[in-house]
Symmetry: C2
Subunit: 425 residues, 2 copies
């Protein structure tokens, strides 16, 4: 049955049937949460060696003999600089290894621009207006940072190969446009990886604002699901080739590699940018938690160890994504009321329902005990202009919970669509 | 021999003798560092249980069943809120337990005031001028935060019972005066603890600026040396009594209790202040490293454990302070060229040499291989108007190093004084 071409009578009949199914779900009084991209306990068990690899017996000095218990070392341990250098495509001297949160590093970098500016330009807070380009759908916490600082956000469509660069190239002609958020690999929520062509066009941007920076949040740099990883062109090398090395600031973390709450984050950029960032940090802290950095250095002695580690995550995550996708396929194919991504990495399935139905679908799920990411969260100001995108996060729940949640989700999608179509007729 | 009353001939003879002693120290090619208040390895060994108390065997859930490996918990674990509540004198609901650095919390709180203001007032960066009261001598990193944000610093004398409150009460009449740094117990570097009277007068301040805040850095809250701890009146209770609860923001950390680089920091304030601070944090991070918090919760199951722990630190530190004080006494008594504090807690001995001789003394030490805290560092902008204060940090070096360093220091003090007196005559 194709809902969109069905008669009113057919739709009404279907509505009664689906409403009954929905009510049955409500009676079950579920309590499930698929709202955030949280690793599950089994994934965290993959990193259990972190608990024992730094100890009285195994010592607490790093490769250069630093007692990691004590003060010092503003930009992190040399071992981790080498590791992140390989992941981030910049020299070890340009890596800052931080605490447990790359979000914190991003926030602090924007905060620094607000109070001190970038590259000798005026602090953003003292400039007339500051705008950021936001490829959508995107990561709600990026948008929230902008909102916190009163930065105006401009939506740009994220296509299957990356942001709509024609728009981006136009927008950067405005000297008030100071930044752009990018999750270039396995993007949140669409799971797309920027094509070489798009990375090159970003690296070639010549914004009117000298203090324009691309915030390159490579959160899912090695987070494949299906056994092989997408390739992402190295943005910093591309920037160098074009004499544009100050354009980009790169972030990543091990939050979804080791422990979400107790991983290690890193930031990388041009020598000039790194000098500015470290100067601020030198007032802000004496240094990061080097013991936790040492734990990570000891379990990831080379990049191959890291890749093997990620294969174990993929093996755990694959069936979780599959069960959701399978249910969506079984329940919704041919109805013409929803489509969804089939990601090869990252943490999300991006679901698109009929225009105007996302909020209602999420609400129906909530009433039946299933919490999804709020509709609109993937857009600046929480406003999805088409009200059609829902981010699904299948990583945390257990398999039987996922089966149940997916079935309920499909019923909610149908019910919201039927309500919408019946109202329209 | 009293240098200050000696004849030129006596001084010249003494100069030759001391210069020879100094040259002998230079020939030894020492390499010692007494510049920072760093705990020594033996002290850190006191906290070795931190390495084993969270493990696969002992589990990683806290008292409320939170899996501390995963995301979540913006303001920290309940166990540590209870512990810090007892240390900081506020309700657990008003405690924010953070990462490894209270300096970071202070910086971020000032940064928040710069971009968002306090209590609904305009962001400090958009106000005409912002000034801070700085009791001197004080902590260089406090002053550095002000300098970073372009906050004008006003020196106020720190007496043996706390800041000169007559001056402070005058200064807060200026609406541009927005803050004041305090290290109220075992102050850095003078080691004094604010008297009840002074705490009450601070709590009773009625500044012209509604967004004035006292930054109460209780870094050495329980850091006694001599077996018994000074008592410090609880500032927050005193503020409450006077309807002044938003006046103060309190900071502390375990940096000098457990591991300097991998401790736990905390911030506490009125419900209104805490709401504002947590709001900013909700944009900045998903949460602190809860595993490291859990480690601390497990070794400090009650406040008595914490006190016993501090007694072990005191036992290690006491001889280190004693050897320096003993050498100063032996070498410098009756010369009338120096005086120094005899602290009962904290991390420093505060040395006062003849006016105009601090920089030269530090320089002479450096040339002979002993690094002291730069002269002037204990004052805003690195400028000690009398050039007479030197902060000594005897905690890190080993005993034999301290003996050697103290002797050299005394020779340098004498030589600088002699140069100065001979020049003056």
């Amino acid at each position: 049955m194709n809902y969109c071409t069905a008669s009113r009578e057919e739709l009404e009949k279907e509505f009664c049937r689906i409403k009954k199914e929905y009510d049955e779900f409500c009676d079950k009084k579920m309590s499930l949460d698929m709202s955030r991209g949280k690793p599950n306990p089994e994934q965290m068990d993959v990193s259990s060696e972190l608990f024992s690899c730094v100890s009285i017996e195994r010592g607490f000095q790093n490769e250069t003999g630093i007692d990691c218990r004590n003060y010092g070392g503003l930009d992190g341990l040399s071992e981790l600089k080498k590791l992140f250098s390989q992941l981030m495509g910049v020299d070890t001297s340009q890596i800052i290894v931080g605490g447990n949160s790359s979000l914190n590093m991003m926030f602090d970098t924007v905060a620094q621009a607000m109070t001190h500016g970038f590259g000798g330009e005026k602090p953003w807070l003292l400039q007339e207006k500051v705008k950021f380009i936001c490829p959508v759908p995107g990561y709600d916490r990026h948008f929230a940072i902008c909102e916190h600082f009163g930065i105006e956000m401009i939506n740009v469509k994220l296509n299957s190969d990356g942001p709509d660069m024609d728009s981006v190239e136009q927008l950067v002609k405005d000297p008030c446009v100071k930044g752009m958020w990018c999750v270039p690999k396995y993007s949140n929520p669409d799971g797309i990886t920027y094509s070489d062509e798009i990375v090159k066009r970003i690296a070639a941007l010549k914004p009117a604002a000298k203090d324009f920076r691309v915030f390159w949040d490579n959160a899912y740099a090695i987070h494949h699901i299906n056994g092989k990883t997408d390739t992402l062109l190295d943005i910093y090398s591309e920037c160098i080739k074009r004499g544009n090395e100050d354009l980009v600031i790169i972030f990543t973390s091990t939050s979804k590699i080791t422990f979400p709450g107790a991983g290690v984050a890193a930031e990388a950029a041009s020598p000039q940018n790194v000098t500015e960032i470290k100067k601020r940090m030198s007032f802000q802290t004496i240094g990061p938690d080097k013991l936790n950095q040492l734990r990570h250095a000891r379990i990831f002695t080379d990049i191959e160890k890291l890749y093997q580690h990620m294969d174990r995550h993929a093996a755990i995550l694959k069936p979780k994504f599959e069960i959701v996708l399978q249910t969506l396929n079984q329940q919704l194919s041919n109805l013409e009321i929803a489509k969804w991504t089939n990601p090869t990495g990252g943490y999300f399935i991006s679901l698109y329902v009929l225009n105007g139905c996302a909020k209602r679908t999420v609400e129906l799920c909530k009433q039946a005990g299933l919490i999804l990411t709020p509709a609109g969260a993937t857009f600046p100001y929480g406003t999805d202009p088409d009200d059609n995108n829902i981010r699904l996060a299948p990583t945390f729940p257990m398999m039987d919970e996922l089966i149940c949640a997916s079935k309920l989700l499909c019923v909610a999608i149908k019910l919201a669509a039927l309500e919408h179509l019946l109202e329209k007729q």
